[in-house]
Symmetry: C3
Subunit: 135 residues, 3 copies
């Protein structure tokens, strides 16, 4: 039996970090897993998953601004769709992330949240989550 | 019994992204796994694993060009082997990646392929893949 | 029963890569796992986990210098705590990493070590490690 579940994410900007911590937590609770891990995966080539601070929203703004400075939307790119920067940012931040689960809940540091990283929105996106028991 | 398998990758350029999706898919089929995950690992310090678009080859070109612009081969480095940029790029893209498996096949987004990232080739390289059942 | 274990890391600089390979190896041995994976997780928003060369210390110096060049400590940031660069570097290198285990030991390439990446130290930090059997 597959334990893969899906979270729908609607993004509203071209680049945006959407806090999906509550959504992933809800999927974990629904899965019935007690001890193990959650594998979180973005099935897109212009989006990523990252963990960072979700208390002060200026952190997310600084992350997006730094990525835009390092990999600007307009540049000397070959790919003809105008979203090369989004592909590059996706590989820099990464498509997959593993979070530990204990006592049925995600284990995160005090300031940590899980973010869906949109780099070529706005769009309707998906996040796939698979749970593996280690119990 | 170990479920670790190895994919051999021969790279032909100093920096190159080699599409290993079909190879990983073949290992998954051979493993007999139905539901679970594939952990894909590059056992090298000047190479990485990433997921990005494998339909239009200009995407890969733009990723490599952006990495070269951000971390040029020639620079003010201390490491004496002339491949400091390759080590830095390896850490930026990452050594490990987890892909979900369902119904015996890798689950990837429509445009996603799995790439071995060579940053100090050409060389003979290895990719290690471990399968974990969640069934 | 939870198989999550903790490694304590004391950092001594603002930015520093601390080799935690021996510590992770000790946790693996203590867990009794024979075949599977170790999920290594940094529960902090200004730190990360990476794999790179641990033979020649100039590699680590070059990685830290490149990150500082790309994302300087002083910059046009909004976050008021003076550590925006640390948050950005944490997302670039990533919070989680998966390492394969076979025959009871970590599988790493010849030159690979596992590093805790401190970007806002010195501090007392933790690394969480979860083991999953695939045996």
């Amino acid at each position: 039996m597959s334990r893969i579940t899906t979270l729908e994410v609607v993004t509203r900007q071209r680049t945006e970090l959407v806090d999906i911590t509550a959504g992933i937590r809800r999927l974990a609770a629904g899965s019935g897993i007690r001890e193990g891990v959650a594998h979180i995966f973005a099935p897109h080539t212009t989006a990523a998953i990252t963990i960072n601070e979700n208390a002060d929203p200026t952190v997310v703004r600084d992350i997006l601004a730094a990525l835009e400075r390092l990999v600007p939307q307009r540049g000397d790119y070959r790919h003809g769709e105008g979203n090369s920067d989004a592909h590059i940012k996706a590989s820099l931040l990464g498509s997959s992330l593993t979070v530990l689960i204990s006592g049925g809940d995600l284990l995160l540091g005090t300031w940590q949240g899980i973010f869906f990283c949109e780099f070529d929105g706005p769009r309707k996106r998906k996040v796939w989550v698979s749970f593996t028991d280690s119990g």
